[in-house]
């Protein structure tokens, strides 16, 4: 079994409009590399020149923000659900 990544609307042009893609990576960092190899151009949208996740990109593993986990070292297990979501305004 693999891990599912939910692709947000602004990035779907890169994934041929796929909403969910399956990956094999063992960490978030590896997941970004794997996505880049399949969908060239997606990496620079997610991380900045220093390799840090961009400050307006939020990444969640099973609904938990990776900044509360181990950031890019956050381990992934089979069946995990990864979401990539832009930061949104207050209410």
């Amino acid at each position: 079994m693999a891990k599912n990544v939910r692709i947000p609307t602004p990035l779907r042009k890169l994934t041929n409009n796929e909403e969910v893609v399956q990956i094999k990576a063992a960490t978030i960092g590896e997941a970004i590399v794997e996505l880049q190899s399949r969908y060239p151009g997606i990496k620079e949208r997610l991380v900045d020149d220093n390799g840090e996740v961009r400050r307006f990109v939020n990444v969640y593993v099973n609904e938990e923000d990776i900044r509360f986990l181990k950031n890019q070292q956050t381990p992934l297990r089979d069946g995990d659900e990864i979401s990539i979501i832009p930061a949104i305004a207050g209410g």
């Binding site: 947000p8 400050r55 307006f56 939020n58 930061a87 949104i88 305004a89 207050g90 209410g91």
Partner: protein, 421 residues
């Protein structure tokens, strides 16, 4: 002039500067940076003059050129122009020379500053052809979307954390909106709504309508300057949830200075949070320009956003203006709500307590000098968060309908007062 755009020119990414057409979209496709409305200030300057503004109705729409709608607004025409109250009794208690309260507890129709952002978002949503509106909310925004959508004949879905104050829940249900309670805190509601907004073709006021919505907050700043007889206040204290209001107050001051409506002066904008959810004030006090997300735990539920979307820009605004930030505990929030009520007759919600309590702390620390003048932005009404003070304000004293009992009560009070002297 392009009729489709009014005084707007484009949407522009605050991070990389890429421009986008004026549609219902909120993030840069490249780096996910927030999009902001860019205006044609040269054209605005020709019609937005002091006499022109003064000739218009007393609502936030008297600054219409600086609000992002293409033609005349259609929702929330009576919103804004709330009182700016000179708060002499509170000034004395806080130890400052001059103090003003911008009182959005009485904003129309839903008793919080959110009516400002919602009237812009819904007017723009109608221009763009939407018939259903939605929001992710800590309560006040839900109330405002529900109320304004009802009067505009729009369908409304509001998403809130399910543990909100009863008052805030009822104040959404009464208008006939579909209210969805999410078992989680606001940041989780927000995440779900970002995903829902991608699937359903609705106008989500703080998701795909955010560039327009957020601009509505500027009207609070415009009004403050006009009510101070066309000047920028030296100190402004603003509560922070996502941090958006603080950044828009700064933008309003910058715009009026740029348009020559007020003299150019130095000013400081200070940010207020609750200690139980203080990612922005913690970063400011540590001198950082980025924040660490937190899991909120505070009675100030309207400010309980652990991952504040405009946190970076709020930190930048405080740094640029030389402002500071502070946070206070739940007990201090309750005390500050009472202090404002007892001194000025204004019953604010928990967020207002945060603003007053933080102002007190900043004055005591000399970060707002005692001989200065300050404006406190009070954003919501205490009748909506009664749970927060219930049990902390005493009880009515019950007597029989008998004059003798009342006289005995007064006499006992006088004896008690005598003992205290």
């Amino acid at each position: 002039m392009n009729n489709e755009q009014g005084f707007m020119r484009a949407l522009k990414c605050r991070e990389c500067g890429r421009e986008y057409p004026l549609m219902a979209t909120h993030v840069c496709e490249f780096d996910f940076g927030p999009l902001e409305v860019v205006y044609d200030y040269d054209r605005i300057k020709r019609t937005l003059t002091v006499p022109a503004i003064q000739s218009r109705p007393n609502s936030m729409w008297r600054y219409r050129e600086l609000l992002p709608v293409a033609s005349d607004p259609t929702v929330g025409l009576q919103v804004g122009f709330t009182p700016l109250v000179k708060a002499d009794r509170l000034a004395k208690r806080l130890g400052i020379r001059e103090l003003w309260i911008k009182n959005d507890t009485v904003n129309y129709p839903s008793l919080s500053f959110k009516d400002r952002v919602v009237s812009v978002a819904l007017s723009r949503a109608k221009e763009l052809g939407f018939d259903t509106v939605a929001c992710a909310s800590t309560g006040n925004l839900a109330n405002s979307v529900a109320a304004n959508a009802a009067s505009a004949g729009l369908k409304a879905y509001v998403f809130i954390p399910s543990d909100l104050e009863q008052g805030k829940i009822l104040n959404s249900l009464i208008y006939g909106a579909t209210v969805i309670g999410i078992k989680g805190h606001y940041d989780e509601v927000n995440r779900l709504c970002a995903e829902i907004a991608g699937k359903f073709g609705w106008a989500f006021v703080n998701v795909n309508m955010r560039p327009y919505y957020a601009e509505g907050s500027k009207s609070m700043g415009y009004e403050i300057m006009e009510q101070l007889r066309w000047r920028v206040p030296k100190h402004t204290v603003v509560c922070m949830a996502s941090g958006s209001l603080l950044t828009k107050i700064q933008k309003s001051y910058q715009e009026f200075i740029k348009l020559g409506l007020v003299p150019e002066t130095d000013y400081q904008i200070h940010g207020a949070q609750a200690t139980g959810c203080s990612p922005i004030s913690t970063a400011q006090k540590a001198g950082l320009d980025f924040f660490k997300p937190v899991k909120p735990n505070t009675i100030a539920k309207s400010l309980a956003i652990g991952t504040p979307a405009d946190g970076f820009y709020a930190l930048k605004a405080m740094k640029e203006t030389g402002g500071s930030a502070e946070d206070i505990t739940d007990d201090e929030i309750r005390q500050a709500i009472r202090l404002l009520a007892e001194c000025e007759g204004i019953f604010a919600e928990t967020a207002g307590g945060v603003t007053v309590g933080v102002a007190k702390k900043l004055i005591a620390a000399g970060k707002i000098p005692a001989n200065a003048s300050a404006v406190l932005c009070i954003t919501g009404n205490g009748l909506k968060t009664m749970d927060a003070v219930n049990g902390h304000v005493g009880h009515p004293r019950e007597i029989k309908p008998s004059l003798r009992e009342f006289e005995a009560l007064v006499a006992s009070d006088e004896r008690w007062a005598g003992r205290q002297d």
